[in-house]
Symmetry: C2
Subunit: 244 residues, 2 copies
């Protein structure tokens, strides 16, 4: 089954210095998973043109979908557009449609800071959606979002259906044994079901379980068969409960 | 002023699939900032040996300090040690001291899963601290932490003083004007004070301010001088309050 791989780039010194907690990663990873998209990497980088350029350039080569968050405002530290332009070796050009949008929002005469926000790498598409005040910007498979969580959520939700793939199916098993007591069975499991995504997450302070196992697949019959096989492999009464 | 650059590697499919929110990044970035260390990059990668190997290898070349979180338990998806070993081209070897630690915790006879946790890349140092049940593992400038936040916090706190550098100084200005009204002054500011770290963060729903400006430097006199210059540049009464 063909499947799109995605990467997320969070641009912002404020995250790296610990002054702001990144909430965009949690939102985007959950949403993309729900849409059936596999996120392969998340990277937080500085508000630095070279950093942005190198990361964008590398990720456009490596991933089917790339999402950037942050650095698209009017101030000196908003260098995402310049970084993308450098990374893909295209000039920054003023977009007339974006200019009209900004004039509608700010009035007919824009200052230098507002004009800066009309400049995009040549070849950028504007995705206009009725529910949005300003369009979402796309350059090839890179979708360029703002860093402000509320604005990002609004923009992502407006265009999310274009990313939908076949869904993932998930089963969670709550296990009262420690990880090392079931590690051999997990290993055996993956020999039998190599395509199963199998996760094992120890929990320190739960009274009724010590580990959560997650079984995932895009193929529901394969997942169901693997689950039955695992239940046979595990010691009697090891499973406290099953969630799907 | 020489200064150490750091990178953080979060290893875990559960973060990338949105099932778990990463809290280790917030903890580590805040702590490292407080210690005067500049975090340059955070990357979340899959529980995949090649992914880990390539990232570790690249980051050991690029950063003075590297912190990895996750993937050091006993199960099939804990492949951090194998990934590091591959990335730095060293064999995995059983560490006798680690073996003794684990026997003390689990009893004299270890199962295969427990024995797996005694294998480390050749050349790994064990940092034993009285307050810890098991030592922190270090390979060159890479510090290898568990993914479970409570264990990571305990281990990091036990050894954090070894990372301390000259501190950062920070001033926050709360501004009641929008970003585009002060962008020109910010630009001018950086021409006058190129070494200043200047951040501008719009706030959507605050009644008394629209932007928070952050001024940072490791040189306190430089920061104080820049602050005075900025206050002169900004329009009268633009600053609602100043926090240091």
């Amino acid at each position: 089954m063909s499947e799109k791989n995605a990467a997320i780039i969070i641009i912002g010194n404020e995250i790296l210095s610990g002054k702001t907690t990144d909430v965009n990663t949690t939102f985007l990873t959950r949403e993309l998973r729900g849409l059936g998209v596999r996120v392969q990497r998340v990277t937080v980088i500085t508000d630095d043109i070279d950093d942005i350029a190198q990361t964008i350039s590398a990720y456009l080569k490596a991933y089917d979908l790339v999402f950037s968050c942050g650095g698209i405002g009017p101030t000196h530290d908003d260098v995402t557009m310049a970084g993308i332009a450098l990374g893909v070796n295209r000039p920054l050009v003023q977009d007339r449609v974006l200019l009209d949008y900004l004039k509608k929002n700010y009035g007919p005469v824009l200052n230098a800071a507002q004009l800066k926000m009309t400049e995009v790498p040549e070849g950028t598409e504007l995705i206009s959606v009725a529910s949005l005040r300003v369009p979402v910007l796309r350059f090839k498979q890179l979708y360029i979002f703002p860093g402000i969580p509320e604005l990002l959520v609004r923009k992502f939700n407006a265009i999310k259906e274009r990313f939908r793939e076949a869904p993932f199916y998930l089963v969670k098993l709550y296990i009262f044994l420690p990880e090392n007591a079931i590690a051999a069975q997990m290993h055996e499991m993956l020999l039998q079901y190599p395509l199963l995504q199998l996760g094992s997450y120890p929990k320190l302070h739960k009274s009724d379980h010590k580990v959560v196992l997650t079984l995932e697949s895009k193929e529901k019959p394969y997942l169901d068969e693997a689950l039955q096989a695992l239940l046979v492999l595990l010691p009697d009464d090891a499973v406290v409960r099953i969630e799907r």
